[in-house]
Symmetry: C2
Subunit: 137 residues, 2 copies
DNA sequence: CTGTATCCACAGCGATACTG
DNA sequence: CAGTATCGCTGTGGATACAG
């Protein structure tokens, strides 16, 4: 349903692979869902908004090295996928608040587990990386 | 043969990390761990190897639209981070087997939960996307 | 304050050809 | 079979300036 098969060759390959395993691109939502949240800033913003709603400038201060352009774009992409919603307050200098939807929270539940793992095993990954780089090569 | 040029990417990465070591989010686990597995092929290969070991060509057949170059590179990156290991069998046509380490399995546990969520909510995401695209823009 | 609009650099990825 | 080597395109993301 999701995957776009470009040519016949790949289609045949996909069907052949389909017979043995369901790990395929054709019916695999991994790509469509994981790719957007695999962006450089998505998870950071999601974990920020999972806590509580924030305004544009607040998010910008929380992630100091994000450009204005990427903050806008990433927020829009997250909104597009239904994870967050945007509310504009017509105050004197306008302010915009972003808040995580219940759908977003349902995504964040397993995502948080993964981020937890990352936090706990960050050191091990760095060690493995160093070991690999200094050995062999 | 000198191996100086082979690991250019990794060396550059190291230098870049070094240069910004004292910046706020340079050592953030989310970035260091999530970025690599956020690549286009990483999660697909991880979920394949989580099941059982596979050879290079098998993986290639399971993910028909990956290029040979990206398969090699992604596997190497996963190996570098300690998630998978590589074993060469000196058979007549040489064969190489990739297998997930216990560390990789510990990563895959929370990751699988996230992939499960993606599979279950894939449709909702696509709907949200379509809704967003047809309104406004 | 919250964006848009350009321009531009570079990393990621693909296609192809070659090797042990 | 399992890679390397090269080239080139494209998308992502950064810097800057402008605007509601």
């Amino acid at each position: 349903m999701s995957g776009k098969i470009v040519n016949m060759r790949q289609k045949i390959d996909a069907m052949r692979a389909d017979a043995s395993e369901d790990l395929n691109h054709a019916n695999c939502p991994v790509r469509e869902v994981m790719q957007p949240i695999g962006g450089k800033w998505s998870t950071l913003l999601l974990s920020a908004l999972a806590e509580k709603p924030y305004r544009f400038g607040e998010l910008r201060r929380m992630v100091p090295d994000i450009s204005q352009r990427m903050l806008t774009q990433t927020l829009r992409d997250l909104q597009r996928d239904g994870y967050i919603e945007r509310e504009v307050f017509p105050t004197k200098p306008p302010s915009v608040e972003y808040r995580m939807t219940s759908f977003g929270h349902s995504l964040y539940e397993p995502l948080a587990k993964l981020l937890d793992w990352a936090a706990r095993n960050h050191a091990s990954v760095k060690e493995a990386r160093a070991r690999f780089d200094s050995s062999g090569v």
